[in-house]
Symmetry: C2
Subunit: 246 residues, 2 copies
DNA sequence: CGATACGTTGACGGAAATCAACCCCGGTGG
DNA sequence: CCACCGGGGTTGATTTCCGTCAACGTATCG
């Protein structure tokens, strides 16, 4: 666990993909105190019911947010990739209504809510950018909901793959149409509301159709267009255009 | 369509349930120019793909947000009740990734984005309150996702009923355990990812179990505890405690 | 008083869950 | 070094929840 703000550039790079920063704003971001820490895989970062006083910037690795049913079933709400602040919401919603967990070993930076709030009060443009990120979060929830509620297993899986490829590409973690795939079939199951058995079978169909190769930790879309079509993927909901020029 | 700001109190009441307003903040909210308008039922307010320059305060009536699958299936993401700003997200996400529609005849107030943004820049506490509202929005999406992905039809329906009763109660639109129920079975179907036939049957089971009475436009929970248990309803995710006192 | 939208019911079919093995592989320890 | 273990993946058989199709009832309204 090293100290203070050595990794702010990860956050700054992210912010600059949203708004153009003034020198002052960039400096203010730099000044944000941050506790960097390395975490093992499958470790809870915050748990449902807790009242954290800090949020967590994901520097390296993959995390997910989830919650359990009374009957012991898990629903994963989102996967998170480097540069994101998966629990930004705790800034304004005191009690966690779900948990945040590492999927792989992770490097994260903890930022106290107080300085983050001060920053937002002082620099409304930064506040807007953070706010905007949480809105995109919501947009992704909606898209997943649409998939789970209204699409069949093959389309859900294909859609998830398209989304991961697209988001990872935006931060330089995917080239061509391939990226890391740190998810077990169990995790995909809980994200898409299916069973592992069914995931497994449909995965084989998708492979057999020549749309992807999926090995241990690597996904490649051999037929991107086909995958997009199967998943009915339209990246609009990711709102990736820096400011969607008026 | 009357002019300017005669209905701001609806917004102010809402805000005061979140933060305590200073006189200045209250006055600033009052000054927000608002176009009040009456709309018929089943009318789109904004559509997927549009780039609105205003958001809409729901003063009276019920609305929903939805999006269509390529195969023509509809997923409803949320229902909205008086006092809410269903398309607040358009403030920072230029292009709508879903549509907003009236369910009943509605009275709405349109607020231009520009003055709203100015307000947020000038009064960070108000910005936070608005931001917070959009985060609760996201929390509701997550809870629905959990239901659709991981709960059976009876639990999903019960949960929706509990949620509506709870939210309506918070704005004084539910007494005891009864409230208006403006939703057709078709709308419930699209919200919960089911079919009308199945909705209908499960509804009858829930009635037969003595949990509710549901007539034309009125829902009453005859056995609130039972309904809560069936739906696994825990209101935490609604974050209704004004500020969840530290 | 028909139109039309919504609700109800029955019969049938299918997507996906569940149950139950079994395989493979990397890690660990005797 | 090999046995053991456990997590993840794979496969087959069976079940079930829910969808689809189709018909019919019922209420509201111009």
């Amino acid at each position: 666990m090293d100290a203070l703000h050595p990794h702010s550039h990860s956050l700054i790079r992210k912010m600059e993909s949203i708004v153009t920063l003034s020198d002052e704003e960039r400096a203010a971001l730099m000044r944000l105190p941050m506790q960097v820490q390395n975490l093992r895989a499958d470790q809870d970062i915050v748990r449902e019911g807790e009242r954290p006083n800090r949020s967590c910037l994901l520097i390296e690795g993959y995390t997910c947010r989830y919650s359990m049913t009374e009957k012991g079933k898990r629903q994963i709400f989102s996967f998170h990739i480097p540069g994101e602040i998966p629990d930004a919401q705790s800034l304004h919603l005191g009690t966690m209504d779900h948990s945040l967990q590492t999927i792989t070993p992770c490097r994260v930076g903890f930022i106290q809510h107080e300085p983050l709030n001060d920053l937002c009060d002082r620099y409304p443009r930064l506040a807007r950018a953070f706010w905007r990120e949480t809105l995109i979060d919501g947009a992704i929830f909606r898209e997943w909901m649409k998939g789970i509620g209204r699409r069949q297993a093959d389309a859900r899986i294909a859609h998830l793959m398209c989304e991961m490829l697209t988001r990872l590409k935006a931060v330089g973690l995917a080239q061509d149409h391939s990226c890391a795939w740190p998810l077990t079939q169990t995790e995909v199951r809980d994200a898409l509301g299916l069973s592992t058995v069914h995931i497994n079978r449909v995965l084989q169909e998708i492979r057999a159709a020549g749309l992807i190769t999926l090995t241990k930790n690597k996904l490649m879309a051999k037929d991107w267009e086909g995958l997009v079509a199967l998943g009915e993927f339209d990246p609009l909901y990711l709102h990736q255009q820096p400011r969607e020029a008026a």
